[in-house]
Each structure stands twice: as structure tokens, then as C-alpha cells.
């Protein structure tokens, strides 16, 4: 059994309280931005605030009835992040005379509705396990879609498709379907992967045929990198598979194999693709005038982002007082630089703490749930959020090369919002099953997972006894 005690309390009232705080943060941020306008309290402000609060309320009520024991902190955190993101996008709209915030708000509504729908359609997350192989096919289709005539190439990356009323990035959804496939595949086959295979020195090497998921992961991420020129997503996919395989097997050998594959893939990518080597070059030599001023692969964007962060300093310029609009893609890839400029280091610390809490609640869910599939899925999805934050924020601060990724829940981008809100729904579903008190009396339906799990931990224990 899980070694984490579950709390047999609903905690929905705490969620309601936290939601009020989160909505307060989101709406007042929007109001402060609006104060720069002649008419800050216009109808658009009231509509947006009303719809956001209404959707949050509906979400909360759905949880009350459908997932009473779901984690109470996840939804308020996400509402706060989404709201701050909306306010910043609106603020950059005001500077650039654009209307991105409107569509972002629309996408927020769609994403929240989709998230609610997931909660309503799926009684619990274990149903998703039935879609293990369908998810694999769906992932392949989603990832290949941009390469079909439907696909669009924007700024050299072919990761979008045209869906009539706008563009959509299917890779974002593939993140979820791939997580489902891996959770399903690994929870079913982990015994085989664990026990079969040769032992070389301290490392228990897997059998070649059990390497399949690893190879798929590697192929997918390299394929994305080659055909779609999307460095960020390929790092993200690879990280997702790595963490899920590691969690499934608890074997360090898999990490080692994975790292070797990353090194091989990365080295090949630098050699083969000019855009990858340019990225690396503009990361290391960002302040070289030649690199700064060149046409392709210039460090202009990252350096401008750094200037913005520096301008914000410790306390920030205050919302509406800085010049985040000087940075290219200030409302999407570079939204962290915009937030850092106007809210300062202190504001970003707050935002990052929200992400840390969110990821921690997801991990807590993984620890608390009783089935291997749920553990893998919750852990994989939570870790993906952390990794995505690391890749984008590390890129903006020049800790690692800058890759085009969205900041979850904050950056402008409908597909990213939709995918992340669906992840929220899945995490809430898993947390519901993790926190729901054990059913007394006859179980309504039995799950082999629980059995799986018990043998799983026994296996681990026996391994520990006789290595």
C-alpha cells in the first residue's frame, strides 16, 4: 500500500476560500493594468472578471459533486497563474495595440470548459488506461499533423496547424496522450522491464525488446526536432519519458541510458542542424556584437529579455510602468521577462513558488494514489510542468539555451492553455482517488492495478533484501 496517509476530508471549503484569494489576485492585476487606460472599469473588464469568477465557481461546484476529495490547492493556483498571465498579456496589448488578451481569454474559457468536461466525462483516471495504445496512435497523428498540408510554418518551426479560426499546436496535446501511453505501457510491463535482462556490473540492463518505449521516446523527440525544428518540445518529451521510466523501474541504469541518448542526439543535432548550433552559439556568446546583430539566430531576444529583468530588479517597475514590449514575444515565450520586469524578482519568486506548490501537489497526488498507472501519470505530468518551467525560465535567464516554449498557464497560446487545463483535470481526478477514503463494503469494480501495485512494492523490497 501507499505509505502516505490519505486525509479523509473533502477540503472543498478551503478550496473555495483559496479561489477567492486567487480570483482577487487575478482581477486586481487586470484592474491595475487597466488603470493605464481612460476607462479602466469598462464592460470588457466586468465581463472578463465575471466569466473568470463564474467558470471558477462552476469548476468548484463540479469538483464538489464529482470529485469531492480532489486536491483543494491545485485549482486556485492555476486560476491565479492564468489570471496573472492574462493581465500581463493585456498589459502588453495596451503597449503594442494588439488584441491578444481577448483571444487568450476566450481560450481560457474554452480550456476551463474542456477541463470541466474531462471531470464530467471520466469518473476516474483509471478509465484512461484503456486508451493506452489509442493514445500512442493519437500522439503519432498529433505530432505528424503539422507536417501535413494542414500544417503551418511560423518562424522556422513547423509545429502549428490551421484550424480555421486560428492556429493550434497539436504537440501540446500530444504531451498528454504520450504521458497516458507511457503510464499505461509501463504500469503493465514494469515487471518484465525490471526483472528480465542481463546484469553488467552494478547495472541491471534491460532487454532489447523492453527498450521499446525508450526508443519510441527518443525517436519522437528527435523526430520533432528534425521535422518541426522545435527544440523545446523535444527536450520536454524526452524529459517526460525519462522521468516516467525512472519512476516505473526505480533503476538508475535507465537514466544513464537516457543521458547517453540525449548526449548522442544533442551532439548529432548540433552537428546537423544550423538552427540548433546557432541557438547554442547565441546562448554562449550572447553579448558578442556579431551574435547580437546577426540576422539569423541573433541573441537580441534573450539579451533584451535580460535587460527587461534587470530593469525590474528586486521590486519591479510596477505593472504598466516598465517596457516589456521591447522584448520580442513578450506575451508568449518571453512572458517571464515581462513579469520579471514589472513585478520584480520578488514577484517572480511568488509566481515560481506557485509553480513549486502546483508541482508538489501533483507529486503528492502521485505518492497518494494507490495504482501504478495513476502514480506514473500524475508524476509524469507534474514533472513535465516543472521541466517546462525550467526550460523556459532557464532559457530566459540564460541559464540554458533559449528554446521556444510557453510558460504553463501564463503565456499567450490557446493550445498550451488547453493542454495544461486538461492536465489539471487529470491531476484532480487522480488526487480524488488518492484522497478518497477507502471504500467500506464490497468494491463496485475491482482494478488489477491495485494488485499490480502490491506485487510491485514487494518486488522492490525483495530486491532490496537480496540485490
Amino acid at each position: 500500500m501507499s505509505d502516505v496517509l490519505t486525509v479523509p476530508k473533502s477540503r472543498r471549503n478551503i478550496e473555495a476560500l483559496l479561489l477567492v484569494v486567487a480570483l482577487g489576485v487575478a482581477i486586481s492585476a487586470n484592474l491595475i493594468v487597466g488603470l493605464d487606460k481612460d476607462n479602466p472599469l469598462d464592460s470588457a473588464f466586468w465581463t472578463q472578471s465575471g466569466v473568470l469568477a463564474g467558470l471558477a465557481l462552476i469548476f468548484h461546484l463540479v469538483l464538489r459533486f464529482r470529485a469531492k476529495y480532489a486536491d483543494p490547492v491545485i485549482l486556485p493556483i492555476v486560476i491565479a497563474l492564468n489570471g496573472i498571465g492574462l493581465a500581463m498579456i493585456y498589459r502588453i496589448d495596451l503597449a503594442n495595440d494588439t488584441t491578444v488578451a481577448e483571444s487568450q481569454f476566450l481560450w481560457t474559457s474554452v480550456a476551463m470548459a474542456a477541463s470541466i468536461a474531462v471531470l464530467l466525462v471520466f469518473k476516474n483516471h483509471r478509465v484512461l488506461r484503456r486508451f493506452t495504445y489509442i493514445s500512442l496512435i493519437a500522439s503519432a497523428v498529433l505530432l505528424l499533423l503539422p507536417l501535413t498540408p494542414l500544417g503551418l510554418e511560423i518562424n522556422g518551426a513547423r509545429i502549428w496547424i490551421n484550424v480555421g479560426f486560428g492556429t493550434f499546436q497539436p504537440g501540446e496535446i500530444a504531451k498528454i496522450t504520450l504521458a497516458i501511453f507511457f503510464a499505461g505501457y509501463l504500469s503493465t510491463n514494469r515487471d518484465l522491464i525490471l526483472l528480465a535482462g542481463k546484469k553488467v556490473g552494478p547495472l541491471q540492463l534491460p532487454r532489447f525488446k523492453d527498450l521499446a518505449p525508450m526508443v519510441v521516446a527518443w525517436l519522437v523527440s528527435i523526430g520533432v526536432l528534425i521535422f518541426q525544428r522545435d527544440l523545446g518540445s523535444s527536450v520536454l518529451f524526452f524529459g517526460l519519458f525519462m522521468v516516467m521510466i525512472y519512476v516505473a523501474t526505480s533503476r538508475f541504469s535507465w537514466i544513464l541510458i537516457g543521458l547517453l541518448m540525449i548526449i548522442a542526439g544533442g551532439f548529432a543535432a548540433i552537428q546537423l542542424f544550423s538552427h540548433v548550433s546557432l541557438r547554442i552559439d547565441s546562448w554562449i556568446n550572447a553579448f558578442d556584437p556579431e551574435v547580437f546583430n546577426r540576422e539569423a539566430g541573433s541573441s537580441f531576444q534573450v539579451v533584451q529579455g535580460l535587460f527587461g529583468l534587470a530593469n525590474g530588479g528586486l521590486f519591479g517597475t510596477g505593472l504598466g510602468e516598465g517596457r516589456p514590449d521591447l522584448v520580442i514575444y513578450a506575451n508568449s515565450d518571453m512572458i517571464i521577462a515581462a513579469l520579471g520586469e514589472e513585478l520584480g524578482l520578488i514577484g517572480l519568486f511568488g509566481i515560481i513558488m506557485l509553480f513549486v506548490l502546483l508541482v508538489s501537489r501533483g507529486i503528492r497526488t502521485a505518492l497518494g494514489t494507490r495504482d501504478g498507472f495513476g502514480k506514473l501519470l500524475a508524476c509524469g505530468l507534474s514533472f513535465t510542468i516543472a521541466l517546462q518551467c525550467f526550460v523556459v525560465m532557464g532559457g530566459v535567464t540564460r541559464l540554458i539555451p533559449l528554446t521556444g516554449l510557453t510558460t504553463p498557464f501564463m503565456s499567450a497560446g490557446g493550445s498550451s492553455l488547453l493542454a495544461n487545463w486538461i492536465i489539471v483535470a487529470i491531476l484532480l481526478l487522480i488526487s480524488e482517488s488518492a484522497r478518497r477514503p477507502a471504500v467500506t463494503g464490497p468494491m463496485k469494480d475491482s482494478f488489477p492495478d491495485a494488485q499490480d501495485f502490491r506485487t510491485g512494492s514487494l518486488t522492490r523490497q525483495s530486491r532490496e533484501v537480496s540485490p
Binding site: F307, S360, A386, R398
Partner: protein, 480 residues
């Protein structure tokens, strides 16, 4: 499995910690270096969006920020642009800022330490940060008069100053320009305007002629040599110096002549009073030989030569050649050869003589005012150097009064007021002469110093544009 999940969580925490560390590095430790980076135009752009303080003259704004309907929110506007252009300078997006707009940038934009308290108040009251206003010592009537006294098309500068405080009452130069042409937000138009302005002879928007142009002083420099002579103790009012019409310059085949049509020819010897009165060249050349170049240079430095400083606009260092040969020293003694002064420098020489030998640092700033017009600070008069003894200054004053009463500066005389003055004409090879008048009044209790230079003129025109103008300016100040 749970152990692995915990490890994954630790990895996630480690990644967030790395990001927090990296952010702290960028936003805290590196923030200043990044903000100072040459590629970072943020502070300039941000200042443009600020309500910058005004530059005030007698309560009226000669430069102010008015709301504009573009992305910068404010437009810098110069009222009476040509009259004050060389003082205010300009504040542009593409070409930076000059003169007061540049040297007082911290105060005008509100980032100066003196405004810290106001910034805190504005932070908490939510009011937009507003810069301080800078009030100048300029008297608008004197400034206007000085402007009118330089004919359009004539290149020249006038400085009017209070000797006891160093406060500048007027500082004008022509040709001038309209800084509004360079303060626009459309960079391409500004660049075109800048190019056109730069093609005007004698004009640069980056350069204030009254404090930065180095011109040959001619005979007004004799005041410095006379001061050096008295300070040396080797000369006094009874010293008699040979006054040949032409002085042979050793090692050359040219001589140094007195002015052919002047009064010098009436005497073959001269005391210092007469030599100054008629501005005789040959006695001063011999005095300089007696004193040595070192002594003249030291006296010049006591008047501020060789020093670049700010009033707060930049003042170029006036020059006296180091280690000149004998013929060069003779030429230098009468303000020729490589002697170069700013118009302000000659005002400073006169101010030191007028103020009992004490040179006060010239100053343009009367007060710094907070956005609510409350006076934040006002600079105190500052002693720049002790240029000479009181006796020397009194003696020089007497001789300069004599120059106005009986000598070359008679056109500066004012009935009922003792005016001290000295004229000068410097020959500049390749163009017309520089005509000078410098002086102060009243001689017994000086209230005003003027320094006038008209460049590239013939002697007759130069005479009309200098001493009579000095008289008008002195009268205007004394009648206040």
C-alpha cells in the same frame, strides 16, 4: 515507486532552485551591469515616458515636458528656443541629450539622490514619478539684451556674471538653433534636422560656444600678464618698461609691433598703467620675458586656465602654451600664438579682479525645485581659487578704470559710474579678427562682470560691437 517519485520531486525542486538562483543573479547581482549596457536603450526610453522636470528662468519654463499622444507620453518643448539653446541643449531619442538636459539628467528625471524622499512618497501615493525642476540664475531681460546685442549672422558670445557669487546672469552665443528640431520623437526627421544644423558655419548643437569654444584672447590676456607682474613683486605702478614701436624677436626675422594707429607711439617707455591704457604690445612681451613663461602660466592657472569643470554645463579648459620659446612667449603675452580662452574664462579673470582677487566658481543653477515647486536645494557660492592679493586686484582695477576713462575702452564709459574694462583684438590667421571687451562695474563695489567676444570681424565693426555693448549690459544690470 514512491521513492522514485520523491526523487523526481527533488529533481523538480532542484530545477526550480536553479531558476531562482539564475533569476537572482540576473535581477539582483547583474542588474546594474545590464542596465548600463550600451545596447540597453530601456532607461532612455523609460525616461522619455516620464514627466521630466522643467528648466526655469525667473519662474518661466524655458524647457518643459508636455503630454503627447504617442508611445512616450511626453514631448520635450523649448520655449524661446534660440535664446536658450546653448544652455538647455536638447533632449533627443536618437542623439542623447546635451548641456543642462544632459548634466542635470538625474535631477530632471527624478532619479537623483536628492529626490529620494519624493520618490518614496510618489511610490506610496501611486503618483507618477516626476522629475525636479531646475531654476537658473539667468536674468531673462539681461539674456534678451545680450542676445539682441549680437547681430544676426554675427558669430559671437556674451557672458554676464556676478563677481561676488559667480552666478551667471546671461550667457548667449550666436549662431544658435531651435532645440525643438532635435527633440522630436521621429528619429529620421531629427537626424535630418541635425545634419542641416551641423552644416551651419560656427554652429554645433553639441557645443556651447560661451563655455567650450577656444578663441584667441588678444589684448584682454594682458590682464593676466599684468596680474602676474604685480604678484611677482618685480613690478609695480612705478616700473618703467621700454616701449619700442617694434620689438625684435630673437632668432626670427619678424618683430612684434605695437598697434600702428594707436596711442602707444607717443611714448618710448611706458609704465603698466599706460601700457594697459593704450594696449601696448612691446612692454607686455618684455614683462613676460622677465617673469618667464612659468610665472605667467601659474597666474593663468590661478584664474582657472587648464581646468575643465562644470557650472554644471561643461567648461572647456583654456590654454596657455607650456614651455614656449622666447618669440612664442612674446606672442603669448599679448594673447596670440597658442593662447586660447573660452568667453567664460575671460569673465572669470575679470570677476577675480573685481572680487578682491577671489575667484568664485561660475554657476548657472539657482535652485532645484520638487514637482510641487518646493525648493529642494540651492547651491552655495563656492570659491574656486585665490587668484591674487587684494592689493594686486585693487591696482588692476584702478588701471582698468583708466582704460575706460582715457584708453581704448572709452566707449564703455557710463556717466556717474566707474567702469573698469579692457579691450582686445586677436588676429586669427585665415579669417577676420576676434574683438573683445571684458570689464566690470562699479569699480569700487563691483556688481557685474561682462565678457564679450565677436569673432571674425574687422576692427571697426568689432569695436562697435564690444565696448558699447558692454556699457549697455552693465547699465542694464546696475539699473535693476
Amino acid at each position: 515507486m514512491n521513492q522514485a517519485i520523491r526523487s523526481a520531486w527533488l529533481v523538480a525542486l532542484a530545477m526550480f532552485t536553479l531558476v531562482l538562483g539564475s533569476l537572482t543573479f540576473v535581477q539582483f547581482f547583474e542588474a546594474e551591469a545590464l542596465s548600463d549596457n550600451d545596447w540597453n536603450n530601456r532607461s532612455l526610453l523609460q525616461d522619455f515616458g516620464k514627466n521630466r522636470g522643467s528648466i526655469l528662468v525667473d519662474g518661466r519654463a524655458i524647457a518643459e515636458s508636455v503630454p503627447s499622444n504617442d508611445e512616450f507620453n511626453y514631448q520635450r518643448v523649448y520655449n524661446e528656443p534660440n535664446l536658450y539653446a546653448h544652455l538647455t541643449g536638447f533632449y533627443s531619442l536618437a542623439n542623447g541629450a546635451t548641456h543642462l538636459e544632459s548634466v542635470m539628467a538625474d535631477e530632471l528625471s527624478g532619479t537623483s539622490d536628492e529626490l529620494f524622499y519624493d520618490r518614496i512618497v510618489q511610490l506610496f501615493s501611486g503618483a507618477q514619478v516626476q522629475g525636479a525642476s531646475v531654476e537658473l540664475t539667468i536674468d531673462p531681460e539681461i539674456q534678451q539684451l545680450a542676445w539682441d546685442l549680437i547681430p544676426d549672422g554675427q558669430q559671437g558670445s556674451i557672458v554676464v556674471m556676478e563677481p561676488a557669487t559667480g552666478n551667471i546672469l546671461a550667457m548667449v552665443s550666436k549662431p544658435s538653433y531651435d532645440p525643438n528640431l532635435l527633440a522630436g520623437h521621429d528619429t529620421s526627421i531629427v537626424l535630418q534636422n541635425l545634419e542641416e544644423l551641423s552644416s551651419v558655419p560656427g554652429l554645433s548643437p553639441y557645443f556651447n560656444p560661451a563655455t567650450e569654444s577656444l578663441v584667441a584672447p588678444g589684448s584682454v590676456f594682458k590682464l593676466v600678464v599684468a596680474a602676474a607682474a604685480l604678484e611677482s613683486g618685480d613690478f609695480d605702478d612705478e616700473s618703467v618698461i621700454p616701449n619700442p614701436a617694434v620689438l625684435d624677436l630673437p632668432g626670427t626675422d619678424v618683430g612684434l609691433p605695437n598697434f600702428v594707429n594707436g596711442g602707444c607711439a607717443s611714448q618710448t617707455t611706458a609704465n603698466l598703467e599706460f601700457a594697459l591704457e593704450q594696449s601696448c604690445n612691446t612692454p607686455f612681451a618684455q614683462i613676460a620675458w622677465d617673469l618667464g613663461a612659468e610665472a605667467v602660466l601659474e597666474q593663468a592657472q590661478d584664474f582657472g586656465f587648464g581646468e575643465t569643470f562644470g557650472i554644471p554645463v561643461r567648461v572647456e579648459a583654456s590654454q596657455f602654451p607650456e614651455a614656449p620659446s622666447e618669440p612664442e612667449l612674446a606672442q603669448s603675452a599679448i594673447g596670440q600664438f597658442d593662447v586660447r580662452v573660452t568667453p567664460l574664462q575671460m569673465a572669470m579673470v575679470n570677476a577675480a579682479i573685481a572680487n578682491d582677487g577671489v575667484l568664485m566658481k561660475p554657476n548657472l543653477i539657482k535652485a532645484l525645485r520638487a514637482p510641487d515647486l518646493e525648493r529642494i536645494s540651492a547651491p552655495e557660492p563656492e570659491v574656486m581659487s585665490e587668484s591674487m592679493s587684494v592689493d594686486t586686484s585693487n591696482q588692476l582695477t584702478d588701471w582698468m578704470v583708466n582704460v575706460v576713462n582715457n584708453g581704448t575702452a572709452r566707449a564703455a564709459a557710463i556717466p556717474g559710474v566707474e567702469v573698469a574694462g579692457k579691450t582686445g583684438t586677436a588676429e586669427v590667421s585665415g579669417q577676420g579678427d576676434n574683438a573683445w571687451f571684458t570689464g566690470f562695474a562699479p569699480a569700487d563695489n563691483p556688481e557685474v562682470v561682462v565678457s564679450i567676444v565677436m569673432q571674425n570681424v574687422d576692427i571697426a565693426t568689432g569695436g562697435q560691437l564690444t565696448s558699447p555693448s558692454g556699457k549697455q549690459l552693465i547699465e542694464a544690470v546696475l539699473n535693476k
